[in-house]
Symmetry: C2
Subunit: 429 residues, 2 copies
């Protein structure tokens, strides 16, 4: 019989508790899959006295997270979270001690991923993070090991369940972003500080990892343009439906002749497409894999069980002997690709202007757009009560983001236009 | 530097040619991913003189497929196809010679998969077949390595591109099955002998492999009920739309308290769901992975590039050192699960009766259904020209397949009912 595979677990929150429980209750079955006996040999969390679902009383307890790297184990699971300490020091120490590492920590990997991948390869131990992007969806393995033959042209993903839940609820109820967010917070679907989710940062963390896997670049959110969903109104969502679309917060990474286009932004996506139809807390990723075509992966993107599922799959892979670089490509050869400039980004755009209902307003807006060669494909103008502001909504033909931005900059100077116009690209997914 | 990884390739058709071309043109990049130099060391095909896209003139040529198992190589790729010889003898000989095997051969694995997996494990070499189910979609790896934590409850798949193309075209054009099939054959989208595709056999082959991976059973199509799409009419497809559904040929494998339910059959699937929206030559698989929830995989299910993509991913995995049992579970422990009896299969059903437009016909049909406790949720009766046959279409509440079958058996004895009624389950996917 092969030696047992010894696992040390840092973090006993929802995910850590789930991992411990699975190892304790389904360990025998998973060991048969791994071909080795999986043993949980040490655990560590902040508060030893906290009641937990998994009974870890028989497992040696380590108080200091970083010390977990020194226990007699083959693998350290880091599910503490947070981009800083003690997670970072634990992972570094574990790799330095030639232990394999499995982590669900997207924030940390988005910042330190390239350096940790390098350390893992120097030490010749695997570093795995299936749970760090799109929860239970095996998109990390898909990009690292499956869709490698023809290269990846583009990735489009709905990667944040909180945003998708909020947008889905806004559509279902017609209520405002602020209202739906407050309710989501009350129900525990959104964090007390929601900025990381609704501001697009969490999507950017995940996208940076998928981008690294797809394009052999170091994860780097500073190379991205990041926009959240707080400015989306129920009116935009209702207009989207009139154009056969939904608004989704997308993470987009795309290789273009002008460079690598990496963006997090709300986009219009057609109904009847995988990204247009992904509802509520589900995530979906479309990977355009060259001549092999587009592949879609959909599933639960967060929560205890999907995340646990991804962590466990990494553990079993490593126990079975799975090796190879963290980002699928030798870490020392990951190279940044120049970001594509905004003028290289061509798309059709949805534009909404709130205007005073006075003669000449449409002519003025249309004039500024024409001056930038932005041509209009369709338009909706909806009257409200006399004297009240009116929404003018347009969909443009394909044009550059820069041209639209320039036109909008001029348009907002008009005293007939109220507040900031809304500008949302229409993406094909 | 690690030893090069030597590959022998049997079959130079679309897929084999694609694999050769990728190894020759993208071998350097793939070698970096594998951490070893990938070398194509021998090829074999029926006709040496045939012009091919990949220039294999510099690669040693072996005339006899089975002899390829004896060349100095680490891995044999079998893309000859066919469930019998020489593919079977080649794979056996390769495994006996302790060479890893990658095959795209679903028909062969559906029959000999359990025995070959056993041989591979006895010889301690990997046997991989990502390309054998759903083309480029990484569902084999997904079930073997990713969705293992909570077990699989059910798999639903659209697994045959030819059938999906025909059904999609029937919907788009309103034309008959025979018409659309003839055109698909003329265009090369369907085989001259289409029975394996349209009769459901190919879907059954693929489903048997997914079922083995999901439920640790030996692949076994004899345990399945298999029904094709030849009896589906444009009228059924049009009625499906009225109920918000599409008709898809599904492969279904589901663990039930009464046993393992494995079926290939046309089913109504709701629009707006992944299986309802998968069009034309695309495939999709929904895997219900216990508490981790449903996961959907979608992409091109056939064709040179998607299949090549899957074969190459297996090659690179094995070169990197990937091991573990072919079906994710030790082969000698694969155990059949008793098939679920038809009476255990509960579903809502779509029923279409072509009837003579005479008084009492509805009462008679409804009476036979009531006698079997089949209750009706909704009904459409559409008048045609006087004297012509009329279609009566019903959707039942959930009931057992046996009850509906019994009722239909009685109903067809009526002289008011013309031909065989059509009975299609409504599946949630």
């Amino acid at each position: 019989m092969i030696e047992p595979f010894r696992i040390a677990l840092a973090g006993l929150g929802n995910v850590g508790g789930g991992v411990a429980q699975i190892l304790l209750t389904r360990g025998a079955e998973l060991s048969r899959r791994a071909g080795r006996d999986l043993q949980l040999v040490a655990v560590c969390a902040r508060d030893r006295t906290k009641p937990r679902r998994a009974d870890v009383s028989s497992i040696p307890w380590i108080d200091d997270a970083v010390s977990l790297a020194k226990v007699d184990a083959d693998l350290v699971v880091e599910v503490i979270g947070g981009e800083g300490e003690p997670a970072l020091s634990l992972i570094q120490a574990a790799l330095e001690n030639r232990k394999a590492v499995v982590t669900a920590n997207k924030a940390l990997l988005a910042v330190h991923g390239a350096q940790l991948a390098l350390l893992a390869e120097e030490q010749d131990v695997p570093l795995r993070f299936e749970a760090a992007a799109a929860g239970g969806i095996p998109i990390v393995k898909g990009l690292r090991q499956s869709l490698i033959t023809y290269g990846i042209d583009a990735i489009h993903g709905v990667l944040n369940g909180t945003c998708n839940y909020i947008l889905t609820q806004m559509e279902a109820t017609g209520r405002s972003f602020a209202d739906v967010l407050a309710e989501a917070q009350a129900r525990g679907y959104a964090e007390a500080d929601p900025e990381l989710d609704v501001g697009g940062g969490d999507t950017a963390h995940k996208l940076s990892l998928l981008s690294a896997l797809a394009f052999a670049v170091p994860p780097d959110i500073s190379a991205m343009r990041i926009e959240g969903i707080a400015h989306i109104t129920p009116a935009d969502i209702a207009f989207a439906r009139e154009f056969g679309c939904r608004i989704k917060l997308l993470g987009i990474a795309r290789r273009t002749p002008a460079g690598l286009d990496q963006r997090v932004q709300p986009a219009m996506v057609r109904l009847g497409t995988p990204l247009g139809d992904v509802d509520s807390v589900f995530n979906a990723v479309v990977a355009h894999a060259g001549a092999a075509g587009p592949f879609t992966f959909e599933g639960r993107g967060a929560g205890e069980e999907p995340t646990t599922s991804a962590v466990i799959s990494d553990i079993v892979d490593i126990a079975r002997g799975e090796r190879g670089p963290a980002f699928g490509w030798p870490a020392k050869e990951l190279r940044p690709i120049l970001p594509a400039p905004p003028e290289a980004h061509l798309s059709a755009y949805y534009l909404r202007f709130d205007v005073r209902d006075v003669p000449g307003v449409l002519a003025e807006i249309a004039g500024y757009l024409a001056k930038q060669d932005v041509s209009i494909e369709s338009m909706i103008q909806r009257g409200r009560s006399p004297g009240e502001p009116v929404a003018i909504v347009m969909v443009t033909h394909e044009c550059s983001e820069t041209a639209v931005s320039r036109a909008l900059k001029a348009i907002v100077t008009s005293d007939k236009v109220l507040g900031m116009p809304c500008m949302i690209p229409i993406e094909n997914g």
